[in-house]
C-alpha cells in the first residue's frame, strides 16, 4: 500500500474533524476522498501531507511511518484549491522551487522544468507570472510544481474547486490522462460525486469525520453501504418508503405487476434526460428519470394518470445497513 492512515483522530477544540479514520490507498492508484464540506476530507489530506498533526493515529507512506516527520521530508506533492502560486516568481521559477531549495544543479533543474512545463502544456508560458495565467493554467502549473520533486504521493485538495464548470470538466479528464502516463499514487479531495466517479479508481466517502464506505465507483453507486452514501453519490427518490435511484422508477401506461397508480405532476425536459415528478395515490412525491425516447413513447403529459413501480430487474441497491 502506498499510503496508509491508521486510526487517525483529529480535534479542533471541541470539534472532532476526524474520528478514528483508517484509509489505505493502493500503489499507483487514483483515489478520491469524497464528502460534503466540513466532513473532514481536507483535514485527512492535510494530516497525510504533514500540514496537520493528528491527535492520535499513524500515517505510513510506502511503509515508512511518517507521522512525526515534517511535511518537507515526507515526499508528498500537494496541490491546493486556490493554486497557492508563488506570485512573485515566474511560472518556470514556481516549477523549479522544489529543486532550487534542494540545491540541484542548475542545468538539471532547467531540463526538468522544461520537461514538466511541456507535460502540463505550459511550455510557452514559462516566463509569465501566475497573475497572467487563467485559473486552469495556474492549476496545471501547481501540478507541475508538485511533480517536479518526484513525490511518492500526489495530494490534491479540491484541485478544480475554484474553476468554472467547463474548465473543471476539461481539467479532470486531462488529470486522468496525466495519471495514466505518470502513475504516481494520487489522492484527491472533492465534494463533487460526478468528478469522483469519473476519474478515480477508488472512492472513499467521508462524512462527519468518519469513513462511510471505501470501494470502486461502481460498487459505491450500486451497493452503497449506508443511506448517506446512497443519497450522496447519486440522485435518490423514495418509493413506498424505500430509497431508489430515479432511473429505477418505471413509468407504465397500463397497470403491471407490483405497480401503483400515480398522477404526473410535473415534467422537466432537460435535453437527453427527462425528469418526471409523480404523486402516487398513497405516499409522498417521487421522481422518475428516463431518456427522451422513453418519454416520447409514453406520450407523457402533466396531470396524466400512470402506473409506477421500481424496476424489478435492477441490481439490489438497498443500503446494506438499512
Amino acid at each position: 500500500m502506498a499510503i496508509e492512515a491508521r486510526n487517525i483522530t483529529k480535534r479542533f477544540g471541541d470539534y472532532v474533524a476526524l474520528d478514528d479514520v483508517t484509509v489505505t490507498v493502493p500503489d499507483g492508484s487514483l483515489t478520491a476522498l469524497l464528502g460534503p464540506s466540513g466532513s473532514g476530507k481536507s483535514t485527512l489530506l492535510r494530516v497525510i501531507a504533514g500540514l496537520e498533526t493528528p491527535d492520535s493515529g499513524t500515517v505510513l507512506i510506502e511503509g515508512d511511518d511518517v507521522t512525526t516527520r515534517p511535511a518537507r521530508t515526507r515526499g508528498v506533492g500537494m496541490v491546493f484549491q486556490h493554486y497557492a502560486a508563488f506570485k512573485h516568481m515566474t511560472v518556470a521559477k514556481n516549477v523549479a522551487f522544489g529543486l532550487d531549495v534542494r540545491k540541484r544543479p542548475k542545468a538539471e533543474t532547467k531540463a526538468k522544468v522544461a520537461e514538466l512545463l511541456d507535460l502540463v502544456g505550459l511550455a510557452h508560458l514559462g516566463e509569465r507570472y501566475p497573475s497572467q495565467l487563467s485559473g486552469g493554467q495556474r492549476q496545471r502549473m501547481a501540478l507541475a510544481r508538485a511533480l517536479a520533486v518526484e513525490p511518492r504521493v500526489l495530494l490534491l485538495d479540491e484541485p478544480f474547486g475554484a474553476l468554472d464548470a467547463r474548465v473543471r470538466e476539461e481539467l479532470r479528464r486531462w488529470l486522468r490522462r496525466l495519471h495514466d502516463d505518470v502513475h504516481v499514487t494520487t489522492i484527491f479531495v472533492t465534494h463533487d460525486q460526478e468528478e469522483a466517479m469519473e476519474i478515480s479508481e477508488q472512492i472513499v466517502v467521508v462524512n462527519e469525520g468518519r469513513i462511510e464506505q471505501s470501494a470502486t465507483p461502481g460498487e459505491i453507486y450500486d451497493h452503497p453501504a449506508t443511506p448517506f452514501v446512497m443519497s450522496f453519490v447519486g440522485p435518490v427518490t423514495r418509493v413506498e418508503g424505500e430509497m431508489v435511484r430515479p432511473h429505477d422508477v418505471q413509468v407504465l401506461t397500463e397497470p403491471g405487476e407490483a405497480s401503483q397508480q400515480a398522477v404526473v405532476t410535473r415534467i422537466w425536459w432537460l435535453g437527453f434526460e427527462v425528469r418526471v415528478e409523480l404523486l402516487p395515490a398513497e405516499g409522498e412525491l417521487m421522481v422518475a428519470q428516463m431518456s427522451r425516447a422513453e418519454a416520447d413513447t409514453l406520450e407523457l403529459t402533466e396531470g396524466q394518470i400512470v402506473h409506477v413501480r421500481v424496476d424489478p430487474t435492477r441490481a439490489r441497491r438497498e443500503p446494506a445497513s438499512a
Partner: protein, 257 residues
C-alpha cells in the same frame, strides 16, 4: 457648478493649511539669501543635530522593521489568549501623546526609575528608545494585512516542496510582504526623522550633544535665530518630501506589477 465649488474648497483647504505654511518656511529661510541659510545649517551644532537624527533613525527603523515583521507574523499566524489586547497595544503610540511617552521613559529609565541607568535619559539611547516607541506601529500595520490576506497556502506549498522554515521565510514570505514592509519602513523613517515631543523630553536638549534636527529647530527659534530655525526646517521638509516622493514612485511601480 457644484463640482467646481467642491474642488475649490478641497484645494483651498489644502493650500491654506499645508502649502502656505510649508512655503513660508522656505521663503523665510532664504529671505536673507542662500548663503545665510547655508551657514545656519552648517554650524557644528546643526551638523551634529543632522548626524544625530540620522543615527537615531538608522537604529530605530531597522529594529522596528525586524520586530514589526515578527509581531505581524505572530498576530497573523497564531491564536492565543490576549491576542486582541496585544493587537490594540500595537496602536498605543498612535494614541498616546509623544510628550507622555517621553515622560514615561524618564519614569522607567530615569534617576528614580525601575531600570535606572546612566546614559539613557538625556542621552542618545533614551532618544532611540523614544523614537522606537513612536514609530513602532507602522511596519506591523502595513505587513499584518498582507499576511492575513495571503494566508498560509503559499507557505504550506513551500514546505511540502521541501523548503525549511527559513527558506520558506526568505523565498516566499518576505517577497510576499515586500511592498507592505517597504511602505512601513518609509513611514517609520518619516516619523522617526520628524519626531519632536518624546525625543525632546528625554533629550535634555543639550546643544551639540542631544539635539536632533527637530529639537535644533526649536532651539534656534527660542534663541531668536529665525534664519537658523527656518533653514533647518527646510532641511527637514526636504527630507520629508524625499520620503513621500520615494513612496509615491514605489507605489506606482507596485501597481504596475
Amino acid at each position: 457648478m457644484s463640482k467646481y465649488v467642491l474642488r475649490f474648497t478641497a484645494l483651498g483647504y489644502l493650500a491654506a493649511l499645508l502649502v502656505v505654511p510649508v512655503g513660508m518656511v522656505f521663503y523665510r529661510a532664504f529671505e536673507k539669501g542662500f548663503a545665510n541659510a547655508w551657514e545656519a545649517v552648517t554650524t557644528p551644532p546643526a551638523q551634529h543635530a543632522f548626524y544625530l537624527t540620522c543615527v537615531i533613525t538608522l537604529i530605530a527603523v531597522p529594529l522596528n522593521a525586524i520586530f514589526g515583521v515578527v509581531t505581524a507574523w505572530v498576530l497573523a499566524r497564531y491564536d492565543f489568549r490576549g491576542k486582541r489586547v496585544f493587537d490594540v497595544l500595537i496602536d498605543l503610540p498612535f494614541a498616546v501623546s509623544p510628550v507622555i511617552v517621553g515622560l514615561a521613559l524618564i519614569l522607567v529609565w530615569g534617576r528614580d526609575g525601575w531600570f535606572h541607568m546612566t546614559n539613557v535619559i538625556f542621552s542618545t539611547p533614551g532618544m532611540i528608545l523614544a523614537t522606537i516607541f513612536i514609530s513602532l506601529p507602522f511596519v506591523v500595520r502595513e505587513v499584518l494585512p498582507v499576511l492575513e490576506e495571503e494566508g498560509t497556502d503559499q507557505e504550506e506549498a513551500g514546505s511540502t516542496l521541501g523548503a525549511r522554515g527559513w527558506q520558506v521565510f526568505w523565498r516566499i514570505t518576505l517577497p510576499t510582504i515586500r511592498w507592505g514592509l517597504t511602505y512601513g519602513i518609509i513611514l517609520a523613517t518619516a516619523r522617526s526623522i520628524g519626531e519632536f515631543g518624546a525625543v525632546a523630553v528625554v533629550s535634555g536638549k543639550i546643544s551639540g550633544r542631544t539635539e536632533t534636527m527637530t529639537v535644533f529647530v526649536e532651539d534656534r527659534f527660542q534663541s531668536l535665530d529665525l534664519t537658523g530655525a527656518y533653514a533647518a526646517g527646510v532641511v527637514l521638509a526636504l527630507l520629508g518630501i524625499t520620503v513621500l516622493t520615494l513612496m509615491t514612485l514605489l507605489q506606482r511601480r507596485h501597481q504596475r506589477i
